[in-house]
Amino acid sequence: MTTTTATVRSRPRITLAPTLAKPLAAAGGVLAVIAALLPWTTFVLFDNDEVNPSLQYFDAPFALSGYRLHTMLLGLAVLVVAFVPRIPGRARAQRALGFGIAAIGLISLIFLSYNGGGVGTVTAADGDAAFGAVVALVAGVLVVLSAIAAGITDIPDFPTRLPRLAAYGALVLAFAAILFLVAETLTAGGRSGVSNPYAGPTFLAFLGMAGGVLGALSGVGVVRWISALSERHRAFSIIILVLCALSLPLTSAGNAYWMTVATTIGVYAATAIGLNVVVGLAGLLDLGYVAFMGVGAFVAANLSGAATSKLGIELPFPVAALIAAILAGIVGAIVGSPTLRVRGDYLAIVTLAFGEIFTRSAQNDIGGLTGGSNAIPRIPDVELGGTAFNEEIQVGGLELPGGVLYYFMIVLVVGAVMAVFANLKNSRAGRAWIAIREDEDAARAMGIRTGKAKIMAFLVGATLAGLAGAIFAHKLTIASFDSFKFLESVTLLAAVILGGMGTIPGAVLGASLLFVLPEKLREFDDYRLLLFGLALILIMRFRPQGLVPDRVRRAELAGETATGKSIDEEEALVVEQEHDGPTGKKGGTA
């Protein structure tokens, strides 16, 4: 059983004549533009619309803003892509744009007809007609069909050997665009809450638009080009990325709320990077990972001088954080030690058991160090030169929101971690981990000291988690066993998988998505966990390689190469151009 064809990518079943591509795209594009100009509901849904009259759903036709503007822009983009000659990867771009348009239409359709009490809301009722959402949906479908008719081709390659300055310029532009996108995404739909019942759907529609545009860029090869460029100029990229992240408080997302959320994301991202080392690189599944973060948090809490901690020791934060990280690392090495004898699923269960033991012990105030059910509250803020980290600060003429210093701290930490780990995959230790992941016995036969390497993976991962936990405890001002339960471990694991196992940007992206989405979609609180569970199932079914797949993983999990080609067609090409690891030969073990 050494075939790689077992997980063949599902291909669209519909086939259309290629000649239909252009007319379909034209029709879809025009329809999308028309949809943007039509009204979208037949009547005003919520009684406080007088208070907030700018809502795009009820604006007079032709007044364009928000998602209606997005629909129009996407439609125009479709037309441009359809008629400009020699666009590489055209069909992929069209497909993404089509899905974007359809998503906006569908989301609005569902939201409006659900809240309006029937499809009359989005079609015609009482003499008013409002077909905007329906038309947008149809337009999106037509565009997708046109892409199918044209036939999906390879993602094109662009040269990446540019003059240094040109490359830097492109990277700065790209990252600035990402910053803009992040800020827009965070604030899209406005503040959700009672005064704004549209926040959820408007945000989702924005995601549809952003996804469409990103997909189109990826389809024409821009995303690959940028990532290849950033790979080539790695140091510069990381500096620019950190600078961009540091300027987030200056954008529309610069308020205490988003600083808090962004800090939390940073904490979990750092932890996820650590987990990524253990799971993504070394292939050791850990289901109790959040315990390491807990160890870090409790150690930091005990060394913070909090009145409620039993030790009453007060150390400066950097020292306390360092100790927290080291202790978490030691615990990690201990938890990892069964890996010397236990493999695969069994290891997952051992780590789950350790996680449960940790939670239980913390809840029972073991050694008086965790505060038990009372937790350790009132952990003082980190201070720097007399400024508490949760205060608003002024730099020159700039007013920065509360909590911004925590945000800066975590950005620097994550940035440093990314810098250190960016090369990890190609380092000696990283290669050893990957070898273990692929075939432990073979790795051992090749002279890798597998035991040492595996414990090292746990140690490194847990150290990171411990450091993140220390920051978490101070930012939150409380260290409680409630924060470190099984579900958190699952969420972290999901972040790593969603982002793409084995890739550092993937871990950061996954953590961001899994912690931003629930914040933005608080309206669906009751279904939050249900949707999370469904997402886990669907990701594993349809995109197990994650959003930013590692090349090797991609081959292994999705049976496709980095260009999106299916491996069984491309087997000859996949055979190594490089030397950093076996590709796509994972069969025979399942």
Binding site: M1, A6, T7, V279, L285, P338, R341, V342, R343, G344, D345, Y346, A348, I349, V350, L352, A353, F354, E356, I357, R360, S361, N364, E438, D439, E440, D441, V490, L493, A494, I497, D526, Y527, L529, L530, F532, G533, L534, A535, L536, I537, I539, M540, R541, P544, E556, L557, K586, G587, T589, A590
Partner: protein, 305 residues
């Protein structure tokens, strides 16, 4: 001494429930090497299935007579549990059968969360604990110094009977032989005329049916259920299956009794008392996995990458 005996009796009763669940874990693992993390939730859903039958299907006249209502509730629980398990197998696990091992494990976690939440959201009032009908003789049985409820005795009897029955089925029947063949080597079994898909479906079906029975009996004994009972008992059952040697039916049942005893006796006699009783279960689990990963009755683990 009385306390010791009483705790042993409690441990055996707990072990009997866990054992019925553990059989499902061990069978599925034996055949497709999948830790079906959601199997605990099948148990939970089964309990709610029985509750639904009692609440909405049973005529009131029958509700008082346990010999009518209990069998019907068990049937209801089994039907619901089996349905859920088969849907799960078909739509969540089967597409991943050749995927790397991580994928189905994560999927199982997802299924587990979905089932828990689905019950909480859509079963009326299930956001907090639900009273469960005592559809059995509500009495204590005194066995010397030990006193045990009649419903717990029933669980022990049913559990032992079903395990023995299953063992016989797997060793003697034609389908059982097909199961064992598939467990050993799916490809060879296919060559020998066994349809592995059918065997896998049957495995899920039997496991779910046992879990369904366990769910209803558990509810009847404890007289209340909530959507969290599956996770906790599922973990215990999984531990039992590993302890006994995953893949081994006999091992799962014996492992379950050992887990039951560790929990009750550990809570009684180990330092820390009942608040640390889980901890002992997990400590034992870790030691078994580290020093005897094949479990007490399992074969030595085949090498897997």
């Amino acid at each position: 001494m009385t306390t010791l005996l009483q705790q042993i009796a409690n441990g055996i009763a707990l072990g009997a429930t866990i054992g019925l669940i553990a059989l499902g874990y061990t069978m599925v693992y034996g055949i497709i090497q999948l830790i079906n993390f959601a199997h605990g939730e099948v148990f939970m859903v089964g309990a709610f299935g029985g509750l639904a039958v009692h609440r909405w299907l049973l005529p009131e006249a029958w509700q008082g007579d346990w010999y009518i209502s209990l069998p019907l509730m068990i049937v209801g629980g089994v039907v619901v549990a089996v349905t859920i398990a088969l849907i799960m197998e078909r739509f969540a696990y089967r597409p991943l059968r050749n995927a790397p091992r991580l994928a189905p494990l994560i999927t199982a976690l997802g299924v587990s969360i979905v089932l828990q939440e689905a019950i909480r959201i859509w079963f009326p009032n299930a956001e907090s604990a639900q009273a469960y009908p005592k559809a059995f003789i509500d009495a204590q049985v005194d066995l010397g110094p030990v006193s045990i409820s009649a419903s717990k005795l029933l669980i022990i009897v049913v559990s032992v009977a079903l395990s023995v029955g299953l063992q016989l089925y797997v060793t003697k029947s034609r389908m059982g032989r097909a199961m064992r063949a598939t467990a050993q080597d799916r490809d060879t079994a296919r060559l020998m005329g066994v349809n592995p898909d059918r065997v896998i479906v049957l495995t899920f079906l039997i496991g779910a049916a046992l879990a369904g029975v366990a769910g209803v009996l558990y509810g009847v004994d404890i007289t209340n259920v909530d959507n969290a009972i599956g996770f906790q008992n599922g973990i215990f059952a999984f531990t039992a299956a590993v302890l006994g040697g995953i893949g081994s039916l006999r091992g799962a049942v014996i492992g379950a009794f050992i887990i039951g005893l560790i929990k009750t006796l550990g809570g009684q006699y180990m330092p820390g008392g009942t608040q640390y009783d889980y901890v002992w279960i997990f400590v034992v689990l870790i030691f078994v996995l580290v020093f005897r990963p094949q479990g007490l009755f399992g074969e030595a683990e085949r090498v897997r990458a």
